[in-house]
């Protein structure tokens, strides 16, 4: 893993979406996802409209469709089981291309697929227009417990350090003629993982020492404060508000 590891999700740009404060974007995405999952699954057209809304945001953020679609592939392993549902679910059955499928199963699969894809697409848009560090500041601003924010921020800082340490251990193993070729070698890998854990634990202690030496007393000092104006909040609210309208139409039409 390269040095750019922490920023691979981010796509540099200067669009109005990039410029929004992170807490506005986080809140907007969260509300959008809530609205999407509470839409009745039978309102198929509503999901089409949600997709159009997201496509508009992507266009404003100048995130190309190809980029977005490639990132969406992350979802595949999670929805794989949705594909199985029409085959295994109970209830009345229907013929599709010569296969006997459950009607309930088909609706269930559609429900997971549509809502999952929209949720992932919204998150991908958020990640590609907001730097990781900013996301953390946003979460802090939204009053996520400070401890969780600190843990996440250390994960970002030390992810590369630990990956690098892992790589050095692998090189050291390989240099002494070790090659993992099957279950017989898992023991060695497990011991390496154990050693890595202990090293990281010790590093944690040294980092804590360095923090205490510079005046750390349990909470991170506020260095950057991201503030959002009323206009920025209302701009970010456009997405969930439009989605809410679609959702209500889905329930009442």
């Amino acid at each position: 893993m390269g040095a750019g590891h922490a920023h691979r999700l981010y796509r540099h740009g200067h669009s109005p979406v990039h410029a929004l404060p992170p807490q506005c974007k986080l809140a907007a995405v969260f509300c959008f996802v809530l609205v999407v999952v509470s839409t009745p699954r039978s309102a198929v057209w509503a999901f089409g409209l949600y997709a159009v809304l997201l496509a508009t945001v992507a266009a404003v953020a100048r995130v190309p469709a190809g980029f977005l679609l490639r990132r969406l592939l992350i979802e595949v392993p999670f929805v794989a089981f949705a594909v199985l549902m029409p085959f295994v679910a109970e209830g009345p059955r229907t013929e599709v291309l010569g296969l006997s499928l459950s009607v309930h199963g088909l609706w269930g699969a559609w429900n997971i697929l549509a809502k999952g894809t929209l949720g992932v697409a919204a998150s991908v848009l958020l990640a590609s227009t907001t730097e990781l560090r900013e996301l953390l500041l946003g979460l802090q601003r939204l009053r996520l417990p400070a401890l969780l924010v600190q843990i996440a921020s250390f994960m970002i800082r030390y992810g590369d350090v630990i990956t690098d340490e892992m790589r050095r251990m692998r090189v050291a193993r390989a240099s002494r003629g070790f090659e993992a070729r099957g279950p017989r070698h898992w023991g060695v890998l497990a011991k390496s993982a154990g050693a890595l854990f202990i090293r990281s634990y010790e590093r944690g202690e040294r980092v804590h020492l360095a923090m205490v030496s510079r005046g750390y007393a349990g909470s991170m000092p506020v260095i950057d404060d991201v503030t959002a104006s009323r206009a920025q909040w209302s701009y970010a609210a456009v997405l969930p508000a439009a989605a809410l309208l679609v959702c209500l139409m889905g329930w009442f039409l």
Partner: protein
């Protein structure tokens, strides 16, 4: 004038019973640069961790510019006054960007806004790293990371700068650059090192710690030229290096 650092009769045993320090006495005047020399296991790191109250003295006392270390009331102020630069910059630099890392100490002390920004910029300029402020630390070279580590501590305007093996793992050019920076700083320095030529280059005075006590304290050039002392405490000069032939800069 009060000394920057005064250690009197300091003794310490680790909780497992291993005694590391047996009555250390050491005084460093303001503006002095002093090297702390000694073989592995002499108690150098243990001594350093006493200077800002991470370890609490079993016996004896430590005072920093007149302020007693170990008194719970003053712990924040003591840690601001004693800036420790640890050996591995990856341990020292724990924030996502260089700027935030340098800001950590002053922000913890309550500085905010433009004042904080100015303090960070000044500290980075002192080590020649101002243009790297927005980089993540792991994108920097090792030498650059070490310099930023020094800046993180300078930002707190310490009374005394304590460096643990400042020249370790540096290539000769980075080692020389760091020496130039350290020489340019107007601050008291205590430098723990095995790099004896570096000690001679930067520190007019050296203290040898061995077996948990101070066994020698004097002019660096004289100590390094004392073959019997050097041999007795496992101190060795690099091949071909003769401290007598070096003209020490003032």
């Amino acid at each position: 004038m009060t000394a920057s650092l005064e250690v009197k009769g300091l003794a310490y045993a680790y909780p497992d019973g291993h005694q590391a320090l047996f009555g250390v006495d050491l005084a460093i005047a303001r503006g002095e640069r002093v090297a702390l020399l000694g073989p592995n296991g002499a108690g150098k790191t243990t001594l350093v961790l006493h200077l800002n109250g991470i370890l609490e003295a079993g016996a004896g006392s430590v005072t920093v510019a007149g302020l007693p270390v170990g008194d719970r009331k003053h712990v924040a102020e003591v840690r601001r006054r004693v800036g420790i630069v640890f050996q591995d910059p990856d341990d020292q630099l724990f924030m996502p960007t260089v700027r935030e890392d340098v800001a950590f100490g002053p922000a913890a002390a309550g500085l905010r806004g433009a004042e904080l920004e100015a303090c960070v910029r000044k500290a980075l300029e002192r080590v020649g790293m101002a243009e790297f402020a927005d980089r993540p630390p792991h994108h920097l070279s090792f030498g650059q990371r070490r310099r930023v580590a020094v800046a993180t501590v300078l930002a707190m305007e310490p009374e005394i700068l304590v460096l643990d093996e400042p020249s370790s793992n540096l290539d000769p050019a980075s080692r020389r650059e760091l020496a130039d920076i350290l020489r340019s700083l107007d601050v008291t320095v205590l430098m723990v090192t095995h790099d004896l030529p570096y000690a001679l280059e930067l520190c007019p005075r050296s203290v040898v710690l061995s077996g948990g006590t101070v066994v020698a304290d004097g002019r660096t050039q004289e100590l390094l030229s004392d073959d019997a002392l050097m041999r007795a405490h496992r101190l060795e000069l690099p091949y071909g290096f003769d401290p007598r032939s070096v003209t020490v800069r003032g």
